[in-house]
Amino acid sequence: MSHRNPFALALLLALAAAVAFGCATGTPPPAPAAAQAEAAFEPFHSLVDAAFVKQHIQMPMAEDVMIIDSRPRRPKYEEGHIPMAVSLPDSQFAKLAGQLPANKDALLVFYCGGLACPLSHKSARKAEALGYTNVKVFAEGMPGWLKVKGNYASVSVEWLQKQLQADTGLVVVDSRPRRTQYDKGHIPGALSIPDSEFAQLASALPADKAAALVFYCGGLKCPLSHKSAEKAMALGYTNVMVFADGYPAWTAHTQEAAGAPMKAGKAEGTIDTDNFVQMVTEAPERLYLVDVRDSEEFARGSFKSAVNIPVEQLEAKMGSLPQDRPVVFVCNTGARSGESFYMVQDLKPGMKNVYYLDAEVTYRKDGTFEIKKPTS
């Protein structure tokens, strides 16, 4: 464990500069930024460095340790924070203090935007005033964290969704096992590179080592995305992030965003076409989309979030269909998807949350599509 006081160091440097330059010329030189910052507020009495912070990060976090981001949640925390840190903006400290651990002896490490940022120091004092006895400030904050080789940022679900909607070229990687997790649902467009197969499948990552990569897995208790992120950095990738809240947070967020429940179509078992288009565009994770066409047809293009189970194989694979969200069968006319719906009705009558798309669908290789209501 190492404790440093960067403010004392900055003050010494400023004094040295004043002696070396100001005294010689007779006019005071401009003070370094850190010194200016120091003059603006009194630093907290107990400071720690990035190594100390890293030492206390684990998945899941220990109950008696909390790393706290004191910056405004939007956009700072959302676009990048220390992995496993919680957002508790200093401006909302009183309102959100209930999120702090019940144990007053728990280790609390506050950080914000670097040496010039007073927010973590202010929050640390507020925490002590509440009776917390083991409070620290990581004064170098987020910039200092990212300067350390091998460190990466975690991103929030809001930021990730915006990036995907804006099609910024971000590469999302699902580190969970493929068959039991990824195939049952994943973030649209995510690559499946299970952490256990990283070495064999890493060639699926972009050749450009500066490409932005975001790894995720099953939430805050899951270490797989963090392990894969470290492996990617070891391969030379320089813009690596982790979406630590993972797939559970993605599903919850997109379901909330989707708002209205699913709307059934007029014919038995069908989903309303307009409702389907809206959901598959805005919140595809609300649905478990099964493309029941042949694998050759699927390979030529399908919905980005669809899995392929050709209708001939559906009976054998029926046990893999999830029960926690609606299953929607799709093909290109409604014939095979309808057949699939009735197969489930016949062979697994207890499964109620099943639909099919009765429409003519044209799929394109890039995942875009065109839907027309059926003519017959």
């Binding site: 038995e268 014939a335 009765d358 003519t375 017959s376």
Partner: protein, 114 residues
Amino acid sequence: MFRKTMTTAITLLLVLTFVGIGAAMEEGNKRKGKYTYRKVYKSCFDQGGCASETPPLGPNAKTQAEWEKIFGARDFAAFGCSQEWAQLSDEDVKDIFAYLHAHASDSPTPLSCK
């Protein structure tokens, strides 16, 4: 004269009968019919009653009028697997007709048994 009138009447009766059958059968569920139709042959194949799980006649094997005639007469001999066909309910038969009729060779969307 009498003979000509009788012939016209019988023809008219037959036409109306087939139109009526067609209209009644159209009420079936073609999506469900496709599943039921294929299920007949899967079951038949499992019992050793036929050589393939694939139905011997696809919808486009007949015209709509030919399907109407077959189902109007309930003559399912050409389909084989008579035991399975005998166990189908009226609703199942209606559904299968709706599927075959909707995708007959002269329909807007002819289909093989894919």
